[in-house]
């Protein structure tokens, strides 16, 4: 296996103690609970997949939990959100229930998208999707930012319900797509409040980012060519992500300019469930899993006296139970009625 050159990132400077002080115990424990929900959701869903209860593609967010949890915590649900096919976590964070999401994975009537979308296409009132084509969501997220500006600038629409920014997640692989270039050019040209977040987990399926993207760090190198501000966060560290997202969000509210963020992160699983990840050595995987975002957050909260190891395990158990109940719900839910097959092809 090829040895990869380490990249010198300029991480957004932050202090966990400051974030702990600012957010306080209750909010922080809530965030940890959400991360545990995501982790348990992925573990149980993966098990159900292996039992043949779930079909199709299945991309686990395990290892990346801190990123989107911190982003929603920093900016609130009421923005426009879009992401890749690795969309389970963001849907949970934006308010979709474990029941509806597991029912969707099981292809049931009570599913988040009535059993039509599956693992790659989760939605909420604010989540424009899980998108299945690499980079396909980037123009969409840009369009949501366009709407934000349009509602502000067209006189007849003043006072219409609006939000601050559109947050568009993508993987490192998407940076090679034309949609990335065209969208960032338009967003910068038109001052669209779109936050582009590259979750760089190093692998575009089985191709290392070194073999796909011509520059590194990605955001720091690419953003200047679009006249944009860039940031790099440590995606395994909730506190760094939170501090960074909060800063970028406040900056965008002032400037109404797009920003490009790279979050350096590790996925603990293969690209999808059918990928044994043979391109990554055992040592590499072990070393990346040593920086588990859940453990990093727990250790920080433990040091701050907010949580004991016992309480952490109890919290984990509680989330596991929530997910197990959701698995049961999904399993027992009825299949979609075949008479509904042709419904909703067109909107009324």
């Amino acid at each position: 296996m090829k040895k990869h050159t380490p990249v010198k990132y300029n991480f957004y400077p932050s202090d966990p103690a400051e974030v702990i002080l600012k957010l306080g115990k209750e909010t922080l424990l809530q965030q940890l609970k959400k991360m545990l929900l995501i982790r348990n959701f992925e573990i149980r869903a993966e098990a159900a997949y292996l039992q043949g209860k779930i079909g199709g593609f299945f991309h686990s967010y395990m290892g990346q939990e801190a990123v989107q949890t911190a982003s929603v915590c920093a900016m609130g649900v009421e923005q426009w959100w879009s992401t890749t096919y690795r969309c389970h976590a963001l849907a949970l964070l934006l308010g979709a229930t474990p029941n509806e999401l597991l029912a969707e994975l099981f292809g049931k009537e009570a599913g988040n998208a009535k059993g039509r979308g599956g693992s790659m296409h989760f939605f909420t009132e604010r989540l424009l999707g899980g998108f299945g084509i690499v980079g396909g969501q980037i123009p969409i997220g840009t369009g949501a930012a366009f709407t934000i500006n349009y509602l502000k600038s067209v006189a007849a629409l003043k006072g219409h319900k609006n939000c601050d920014v559109s947050i568009c997640f993508m993987g490192d692989g998407a940076v090679a797509q034309g949609a990335f270039h065209e969208s960032l050019n338009l967003a910068s040209l038109w001052d669209l409040p779109c936050m582009y977040v590259i979750e760089n987990n190093t692998w575009g399926m089985g191709t290392h980012v070194d073999r796909a993207i011509c520059v590194a760090p990605i955001a720091e190198m690419k953003a200047p060519s679009f006249g944009m501000q860039s940031y790099t966060f440590d995606g395994m560290d909730f506190f760094n992500c939170y501090a960074g997202f909060k800063h970028a969000f406040e900056e965008m509210k002032r400037s109404s300019r797009p920003v490009l963020i790279e979050v350096v992160v590790e996925r603990f699983r293969g690209h999808s469930i059918s990928d044994p990840a043979l391109y990554r050595s055992k040592d590499e995987l072990t070393s990346c899993m040593a920086r588990d975002p859940l453990i990093i957050m727990f250790k920080n909260l433990e040091r701050a006296g907010m949580l004991t190891e016992e309480q952490y395990h109890a919290m984990d158990k509680e989330q596991k139970d929530v997910v197990m109940a959701a698995v049961k719900f999904a399993d027992e839910s009825p299949w979609p009625d075949p008479v509904t097959l042709e419904e909703d092809v067109f909107a009324p």
């Binding site: 039509r116 999707g129 349009y150 509602l151 067209v154 629409l157 969208s183 909107a347």
Partner: protein, 324 residues
């Protein structure tokens, strides 16, 4: 009544709908300061301002996708493609996002968007600027495809398209923008999914859409002099297809010829013809015949271009064949 050109009929439709609904806006290459490559949006920048008449860079994937995102979040974009050939640069956004979104999201997000612009051949613009896209896109459930043949239908259908909550391809023709017609001064709509009997006749049904309807009309006039009366059906909506109107006519004439500007293989005639067989097999007194663009990319030379396209002569020959 008012005498208007096709481009003016389209402009009026957009203008009236922009007046009616502030979420309607126009986006595309050269639509604002240049007044539109074919002057459809002439004067609109001055009237509506740069917030609602928006020039884009040459980035079809980017701006078409951006407009889909805008449609998902509450706006009603009208995206002009300078030519529908350029929609291929944006095809992933049209196919994977616009067309599938409502179904795939369990009905949560709709995509009320109109993609409009000239489709098909112009005058000697060669292979990459002459494609008819309706058969390519027609294969995909979730999309409405409109292809009016005259200014009256264009205005009424476009207004219906802008009000519709689904993605619509609105196919115009570069060679028809100057076509003039008397249309009502007062507001009207033309419903989506309703074909028009453009000419009544009893010997043969002729089915077509868009600019080819005019060619069919010329063929019908010539045949009328020889005592052959042609019932001409103008599809107006390619999809949804008004098979009821077509079938009613075929049941009356028992013979049918189909004409389209696009290619033969898996074309619109292939689909409509098959549906006629499904609905009217026992009523047919002769096999169906079709006149389409031949199976070549569009050549540049005037002589070759004429050869590959449907002509009045080829239509007449096909009709004579099914009547023989």
């Amino acid at each position: 009544m008012q005498l208007v050109e096709m481009r003016e009929a389209i402009r009026q439709a957009i203008d009236e709908e922009m007046q009616r609904d502030p979420t309607v806006f126009v986006m595309g290459e050269e639509v604002a300061e240049y007044n539109g490559a074919y002057k459809v949006t002439k004067g609109m920048l001055e009237k509506w301002g740069e917030e609602r008449i928006i020039d884009t860079p040459i980035a079809e994937l980017g701006f078409a996708g951006l407009a889909v995102g805008a449609a998902m979040t509450g706006l009603r974009p009208i995206v002009e493609f300078m030519s529908f050939n350029f929609s291929f640069v944006a095809i992933d956004q049209i196919v994977s996002n616009a067309i599938k979104m409502h179904y795939m999201s369990g009905g949560r997000f709709s995509v009320p968007i109109v993609f409009r612009g000239p489709n098909g051949a112009a005058a000697q613009v060669s292979s990459q600027h002459s494609h008819c896209v309706e058969a390519l896109y027609g294969n995909l459930p979730g999309l409405i495809i409109l292809a009016p043949s005259n200014p009256y239908d264009a205005k009424g259908l476009l207004k219906s398209a802008i009000r519709n909550n689904n993605p619509v391809l609105f196919l115009e023709c570069e060679l028809s923008y100057n076509d003039k017609m008397q249309i009502p001064t007062e507001e009207y709509l033309v419903p989506i999914g309703k074909a028009r009997v453009a000419r009544e006749g009893k010997h043969v049904t002729l089915v077509s859409h868009s600019r080819m309807v005019q060619l069919c009309n010329l063929a019908a006039e010539e045949l009328a002099k020889r005592g052959i009366t042609v019932e001409l059906i103008d599809l107006r909506s390619v999809k949804p297809l008004d098979i009821a109107t077509i079938a009613a006519s075929v049941k009356k004439t028992h013979r049918c010829v189909l004409v389209e500007e696009g290619h033969l293989f898996a074309g619109i005639c292939a689909e409509v013809g098959f549906q006629i067989i499904e609905h009217c097999f026992d009523d047919l007194d002769a096999p169906l015949a079709r006149v389409c663009q031949r199976e070549t990319p569009m050549p540049y030379s005037k002589t070759l271009e004429k050869q590959t396209m449907p002509t009045k002569e080829r239509i007449i020959a096909a009709i004579e064949h099914v009547l023989a």
